[in-house]
Symmetry: C2
Subunit: 203 residues, 2 copies
């Protein structure tokens, strides 16, 4: 097996471990075992847990950025680009969202400098959509970071609280409240409508 | 010390433990130690970890519901009630949001039946505001659960990612992107504006 694919195998098997136990809760031993290699092989590819965790974050962010850019560049209307942005955020796997959320819960102590550059690129994609909409006279001035914070919060919560929603529904059968029923496309459409209205655009 | 205040002392000292380590990561021994009592005293008040965790969730939800109701009933305009709802959600302590978020991250496996009733009450408060706004001809029809999911996501993310935002800002000094600056009142105002516009109301 060539070097790059071993590295990707190590990264992909590390994701569920870091997601479930967080950076502090995972040993190099368990990371090697999950990848089906010994510790020496892991150390051949990564100096240690810190470097592997950094590689995992770079890997996750790069894939997300690549998917966002590919999906957005197919659209020319900034309003449609916004919808694609929301859809890609909602398509993220739970394990990927879980890993980052657990790190943020712990106080974001293990995030390397270069991951911030990738987060900046993520913010930059939304900033660029909003700027284009303003240039074309479609959007009003709204802080794009505020919108990004709302979108990340709303999409993370949708992905992470799926098991909670399921239990909530089971325990709500006898309630007087209207039954919450929302699937991913409806959620994406509503979020899109919310953001467009906040930007003063017609949907 | 009277019995109720011992129980509250046990609950309050359990919150940061459950918040940092999650339900599975906390022992009865460490819960007793944090409360400054022995295990026998803890078992006198709670059958075990499960019952104490349930008491913690009931305590947190009841306090939140009490604060929401008190703040909302001072307003008669549903639009202002919505703002108060958002403000109270943003005033929650990080440790309280962390505890619930960690439980949700783990798949919401330890949430007792009666906590779902309290979650229902929380949803009911927002449902009632939206219904009142519709009766008074101010709001259009929008699924209040969708709005609740967005508001919980956006306020949780705001509270939990504060350390991340701080580091992000430090690493952004040289960037071309506009600098994100948002404080709690501005965030509350923007969220409020977003939700009002989604409901088709004039702010």
């Amino acid at each position: 097996m060539s070097q790059p694919s071993t590295q990707i195998r190590i990264i992909e098997s590390a994701i569920p471990l870091f997601a479930k136990k967080g950076y502090e809760g995972v040993s190099v031993e368990s990371l090697a075992r999950a990848a089906g290699i010994n510790k020496a092989t892991l150390y051949y590819h990564y100096k240690g847990k810190k470097e592997l965790f950094e590689a995992v974050l770079r890997y996750q962010f790069s894939r997300l950025l690549g998917k966002l850019r590919a999906r957005i560049e197919k659209e020319s209307d900034p309003r449609m680009q916004l919808l694609r942005f929301i859809e890609v955020m909602l398509e993220r796997k739970r394990v990927v969202v879980e890993l980052m959320s657990r790190e943020i819960l712990g106080g974001a102590r293990n995030i390397p400098k270069d991951a911030f550059a990738l987060m900046h690129d993520l913010a930059g994609i939304l900033v660029e959509i909003v700027r284009r909409g303003r240039r074309e006279g479609m959007f009003e001035e709204v802080d794009p970071f505020m919108i990004l914070n709302v979108l990340i919060g709303a999409t993370n919560n949708y992905i992470l609280s799926a098991p909670l929603r399921e239990k909530f529904l089971k325990n709500s059968a006898s309630s007087e409240l209207p039954c919450p029923k929302f699937d991913t496309p409806t959620y994406a459409k509503t979020l899109h409508k919310m953001v467009l209205q906040t930007l003063g655009a017609k949907s």
